[in-house]
């Protein structure tokens, strides 16, 4: 190949880009031949990049490969048509062996054709390896969704497995048979092609293993994503997690981080080593003196002054609110000898500004005060004020007191 050949290819590709796209996009019937066949199309047909068949134009596998290669943004490159290439190599070998003794030019042409096919296979394999490596090192491929990433990985593994299976056809014995002991063919098919295939097979195996590992990682992350979504929905439904049940598990200690522990210690002085004690005393003396807050005034310096006690003004305490009412209730109790209801008393004698709840609170507080005084003076009260409560509601520890009953204390109470 020469630089001019590449320039010619480029020129014809540019000039016939639209026609080539039509040919590649055409169905099995192919694209209709244009009325005016350009020089470029003729050249492409001659180079077998475009095939002419029954008045229609068809793309060659090479052109399709090229098209897919340059338009592909991702990993989905076309798989190399290795079977076709293998057939090509076999036929070229047969032609080469037939032409070898007759025409050097024809033999040279066939040798070149074999070399190109071998090169195509090796390049395909190298590209495949590179694309897969890039895919793996991109860690998650290109898809934003875990499901898509898993699909990509699955496809990549299947693709490599298919490729690996196709390489089975490149057997040493088969290739060796085609060489027919020709040195040139042995160099091309065995030294170059077969060695490259063996190398690639090993690398493909490694890649499949790495893809499997990547698949496991993505599957685990997909599972974590499901966990996040499930927990979020559950929390949004108003549930509160209670992890303390984990403590009931036998392996509970494995689940939880230990509480932080600060590293510290106590100084144990060497009490039997007098030198060490002296050193420590020196050290302590060398430390700055502790800060002591200074007294505002030196007490000794203050001159003595006579203190005249002032007579305290005694203010008579107001009569407790509940006292007259309790006395009235006690009179009634003494008179009738039946327990007195504080609520009923308040219905008859209520001070309009206070409700029964205020009355009960005040009476209870006053009674408790009297009990304390009685305990202190050791003069026990002869009556008891008992609360009357509603039944305790379920789930709440508070109990509603509706009344206080005044009664005479029983013996032994």
């Amino acid at each position: 190949m020469r630089a001019e050949d590449w320039a010619t290819l480029g020129k014809h590709l540019v000039a016939n880009a639209a026609t080539l796209e039509t040919i590649v996009q055409a169905d099995e019937e192919g694209a209709a031949k244009p009325e005016m066949m350009t020089q470029g199309i003729m050249w492409l047909i001659k180079q077998h990049l475009v095939d002419e068949f029954e008045g229609s134009l068809h793309p060659s596998s090479l052109l399709i490969d090229l098209g897919v290669r340059i338009s592909s943004q991702r990993f989905e490159l076309s798989a190399p048509d290795l079977e076709e290439l293998l057939v090509k190599i076999e036929q070229a070998c047969e032609r080469y062996l037939a032409a070898k003794d007759l025409s050097l030019a024809d033999a040279d042409k066939e040798q070149r054709s074999i070399w190109l096919a071998v090169r195509q296979v090796v390049t395909h394999l190298r590209d495949e390896h590179r694309a897969t490596t890039e895919f793996i090192e991109g860690r998650y491929g290109f898809s934003p969704r875990f499901e898509d990433r898993l699909r990509d990985i699955r496809q990549a593994v299947e693709r490599l497995e298919r490729l690996s299976n196709k390489l089975d056809a490149f057997e040493y014995d088969k290739l060796s048979g085609w060489c027919n002991n020709d040195r040139t063919l042995r160099r091309l098919l065995l030294t170059t092609l077969h060695n490259a295939i063996m190398r690639q097979r090993t690398r493909l195996g490694d890649l499949i293993t790495r893809l499997d590992q990547l698949g496991v990682t993505v599957r685990k992350r997909n599972r974590l994503r499901q966990v996040v979504l499930a927990v979020e929905s559950w929390l949004q439904a108003g549930n509160v997690p209670d992890l303390e049940s984990i403590l009931d598990r036998a392996d509970a200690a494995e689940w939880v981080c230990a509480s932080p522990l600060s590293l510290g210690g106590y100084l144990h002085p060497p009490v039997e080593d007098s030198q060490a004690i002296d050193d420590m005393a020196l050290l302590i003396h060398s430390l700055p003196a502790p800060r002591v807050r200074k007294a505002v005034e030196d007490l000794a310096a203050r001159p003595a002054a006579r203190v005249i006690p002032t007579e305290l003004e005694v203010v008579e305490a107001p009569i407790p609110f509940a006292q007259p009412h309790l006395e009235a209730m006690l009179l009634a109790l003494k008179e009738h000898r039946v327990p007195q209801s504080a609520s009923r008393y308040w219905e008859d004698n209520a001070e309009s500004e206070y409700g029964v709840n205020v009355w009960l609170y005040a009476l209870d507080a006053y009674y408790r005060n009297l009990v304390l005084v009685a305990q202190k003076t050791e003069k026990p009260l002869r009556y008891v004020l008992e609360p009357v409560a509603e039944p305790m509601p379920r789930g709440i520890a508070n109990q509603l007191v509706t009344d206080l009953t005044l009664r005479i204390k029983r013996r032994g109470e």
């Binding site: 599972r223 509480s259 932080p260």
Partner: protein, 215 residues
């Protein structure tokens, strides 16, 4: 070994992202054994998340919960985990929405502050999500900003202080999820299993055991 012991006893998680050197040392079996022996007299042992061949993080755990004080401390720690679950879940969801893809903040995944902030400022849904997130008691602190940038800064700083994120480099605005995320995920996986939140057939890895959920 002093650094390792101080980190572990301080309640920190050692992973390849937060303390790469300590982590690689702990991956050495003989070194891990020596650390474990140093922890044993204190009633602690070396714990890890994930598989022992490739642990996500190392941490110090109680040898057993037979001591009443250890059990009380463990119950307290479970309360801390419980209180962190919802804020962390919402933070993951914010990152997922901002990143336009599946995000689970598994150890090693990155959080780009600039990308997150841009998305929060351009999308009212993300803005609302950040406002709700910053309202969690977990992120509430004396200094609370009103702008998206300040709120996000508080959220990221709290996540960093709690040990779930670490800066990729000194002063970097890119954060990396640490191995401690696996600690939260283990608790969440337990909730999922305990409450039967995800049917088995939805899981690709139906045969996975709970420990295998953790990366």
């Amino acid at each position: 070994m002093r650094d390792t012991l101080e980190s572990l006893l301080g309640g920190r998680f050692i992973c390849r992202y937060s303390s790469p050197e300590l982590y690689s040392q702990l991956c050495d079996a003989s070194y891990a054994r020596a650390v474990d022996q140093a922890l044993q007299p204190l009633g602690r042992t070396l714990g890890w998340l994930g598989s022992i061949e490739q642990p996500s993080a190392f941490f110090s755990r109680f040898v057993s919960l037979s001591y009443a004080n250890d059990r009380i401390a463990a119950a307290e720690e479970f309360k801390h985990i419980r209180d962190a679950i919802w804020p962390v879940v919402e933070f993951i969801q914010l990152c997922a929405r901002a990143g336009r893809g599946d995000v689970c903040l598994a150890p090693g995944e990155e959080v780009h502050t600039a990308q997150l902030l841009a998305q929060v400022e351009n999308s009212s849904i993300c803005g609302d999500q950040l406002r709700d997130l910053a309202g969690h008691a977990f992120f509430r602190r004396s200094k609370r900003g009103d702008s998206h940038s300040e709120k996000l800064s508080v959220v990221l700083k709290t996540m960093e202080e709690a040990g779930f994120l670490v800066r990729k480099g000194v002063g970097s605005s890119i954060f990396v999820a640490t191995g401690k995320m696996a600690y939260i995920y283990r608790a969440m996986s337990w909730i999922v299993e305990h409450q039967r939140l995800v049917p088995d057939d939805e899981s690709d890895a139906a045969s996975d055991t709970q420990s295998e959920f953790i990366l």
